[in-house]
Amino acid sequence: MYELRGLRKVFGDGSVAVDDISLTVGRGEHLAFIGPSGAGKTTLFRILNLTLRPTEGTLVLDGRDVAELSDVELRCARTRIGTIYQRQNLVGRLRVVHNVLAGNLGRWSTLTALASLVRPQSAADAGRALARVGIPEKLYARTDELSGGQQQRVAIARVLVQDPEVVLADEPVSSVDPSLAVTIVTLLRDLSHESRKTLLMNLHSVELALTHFPRIVGIRGGRVHFDLAPDKVSGDLLANLYAGHEEDAQLERIQDGKGLYGGAFRPLAGFGT
């Protein structure tokens, strides 16, 4: 699906967000990215969803270098990638149905898009998507009247309508409470699994990553720190990954085997050596 070769992103102010990342992601694979805040995970996701151009390196999507795509091809490629952001990034003044149907904007003609704002086109699709995320009754609610968790579900429903091949979720649960966090991560995982979508997720919580994903990529200072199966991720690796960052605290909980999110969490080998 994705092939990343030596990606590097330097912002206008000279700060290096992504330093040197090379990685291959297969079709249908599920990956979790973990690492301290400021490690460059969000920037990496913006490169992966084709809204940010890397300063150096190549990003290959299904065998094509994305830097060589024409305008039309770029739009087309974007419709195949669905993004769920940390903040919901919805337009609060629009009704839920329009925010959900915005997932169709990559396919719709301008005329259809405009008409839909007056009279929602395929509102039934939006209704079905909302039903799958558990809030079918909110179809015609004003989006800014919903709670944070409900808005995150609307964002997921939009991605369902978009029906992309890849789902990028950038810290989708950082603004919701722990029980809802598990629900949303599980929901995204299961929905992606059903329709054989590739799923890439940035997670603040090491615990959620280790318990829900078969492949864990640790990012630190804009570089890949490790890329392993969860049972190979040792306490030492994690301690290194987060060394000097406040997220250290969650490692202590994991060390004690007391997960914040309950469920089947086992103590990790290799702590305190």
Partner: protein, 288 residues
Amino acid sequence: MARASTAAPSGRSPASAHKSAFPRIFTAVFAVSVALSLRAAQVDPRLLVERAALANVAKFVRDMFPPQLSREFLGLMLRPTLETVQVSVMGTAIAILIGVPLALTATSSLTWRGVLHERTSRVGRWALGFVPYILSRAMLSVFRSIPEFVWAFMFVRAVGLGPFPGVLAIGVAYGGMLGKVYSEILDGVNPQPLETLQAAGASRLGVVVYGLVPQALPNVIAYTLYRWECAIRASAILGFVGAGGLGQQLELSMRMFQFDEVLTLLAILFALVATIDFISGRIRAWIA
């Protein structure tokens, strides 16, 4: 996120030294300018309480009562009142016609900056974006920096006395204000939903109608209504230079020392502004 945290340590320390001095310098400059203005503008509250001044004010107030409420006078004022409302409505309509297109070209996110222009070439951004952007901003600032009173004066010379020069004056001056504020509202929307739409493959127009417009529209409508309210007052003032309406009657009555009529006219003006305030309040509550 990554960007902010890596940029902070290198960028902030030298700037903070400048920041601490600024409020003090600003306060000093402000105090000096107030002190100088006090002299230059000949502010002297004693003049207000002098015997002659008080006597004049008393006479002015005494002559206002009872207000002129004769059927004949009120009947005569019906037309000017309507005219004032019509001038404000037409003036605001023309202001919207002038303001909207100029606002669109004066909005940086629509012409040369941000997510809509990721693939525009450098030359294209400059020639098709930045140049029209600067030109329309300059035009808007000329339109609004000349007071509507002066515009009316010029239009009276051009098209003669009557409500039409008033309409044109409000249209041009308010067009400048509306355009400027519209462009600021459009540039001030949250850019993240725009990037989200772009990431989902939306076309530029799709980003505009699903992201930009819904975020900006309520503020645009609210500000336009507020300007309409101001236009009522302006259209009354413009009567002083011959642009018809209540202002012209006000000027006549004042010149004839008919202060009872003045009071009635001010009351009518107050009622008009209050009514429009009420209507626009309802509309704003409905769209918010």
